[in-house]
Symmetry: C2
Subunit: 158 residues, 2 copies
DNA sequence: TGTTTTTTGTCAATCATTTCTAATTTTTAT
DNA sequence: ATAAAAATTAGAAATGATTGACAAAAAACA
């Protein structure tokens, strides 16, 4: 179900694997894996689960790659999104956030957002697949992707 | 399950009903139902199902209320959202869109967005309630609201 | 090596949204 | 009713995330 070579043997392999995946995807479109692009993906991998926004990513990338420009980070994030390495998340807080894509198709996750403290809890929703089948039948609509957010109050805030 | 007086006898009653509802909600918070606020809600009611953005709403409101300023429309939409008369929709097209809330709690709808032609299809998802119960148990998270979007290709675009 | 293509950094422009301010309307107190 | 206080508004300016322009740098090509 997944390309050969993408099974991980240990944690260290993970970055290499994702980087190789990116390299391949870029090559398909005639793009190159530059140090800036490498550094940006590195930061997102290192901060998995963090839902960083562009400025935060920029600040972190700058530590390893001080000459990088903000526009490059914007361009790179857009590219990584197109290559489906990352996903853009909108929390209605006035900026775009990003997270590493889970390349295991069985485990797409979604977000519980606490309206009190802002905490983001990740939740896996396999159940949504049944819903999708139903919708595809009823509306003759071919579903490619979905975004689901739940708003409420987390356990700490009660 | 719903306050007395909010059952509709005919179509004409609908606007009055929603307007009364708004008036009450505003009064609770010490706000007033001004002509500008009235005109803005009117337009949203008249264009139910349209998912208008702020500029579009501004243009339509201006026809009936030419002296209104764009900033007032922004403020009013924010207020109507707070009062839960309307909902903000984000389709990642660079602007906020709004739609009238369905005040029948059994029929919250969600959106199928065609990635080819941009058509928005509305779909009712009662099934999501089971999911919510599950999540509330598993994550000890009190769900107040949710936003669900499905992306794909509509029947016309295939 | 010289030429072309891609990518980058800087800086300016864009554009949705918010803030500021003085004027207007509404409410409240006298 | 009249004056002071509070809320709301229009219009202009400011903000802030994102994008575009462009010349320089890096990489691929011949
Ligand atoms: Zn919380
Ligand atoms: Zn996440
Ligand atoms: Zn379509
Ligand atoms: Zn809708």
């Amino acid at each position: 179900m997944f390309e050969k070579g993408y099974y991980l043997r240990n944690e260290g392999d993970k970055v290499d694997n994702l980087m190789d995946m990116l390299k391949e995807k870029l090559k398909e479109k005639g793009y190159k894996l530059t140090p800036q692009r490498r550094a940006t993906l590195d930061i997102i991998i290192d901060n998995q689960g963090q839902h960083l926004n562009t400025e935060e990513i920029y600040a972190l990338v700058k530590e390893k790659c001080p000459e990088i420009g903000l526009a490059t980070v914007y361009r790179t994030l857009q590219l990584l999104d197109e290559m489906q390495m990352i996903s853009k998340i909108n929390l209605d807080d006035g900026c775009s956030r990003y997270e590493l894509n889970d390349h295991d198709e069985d485990h797409q996750h979604h977000h519980l957002i606490c309206e009190s403290c802002g905490t983001i809890i990740e939740v896996e929703l396999d159940l949504l697949e049944h819903l999708e089948e139903e919708i595809e039948k009823n509306h003759d609509f071919e579903i490619k992707d979905h975004k689901v957010k739940f708003f409420g109050i987390c356990s700490k805030c009660r």
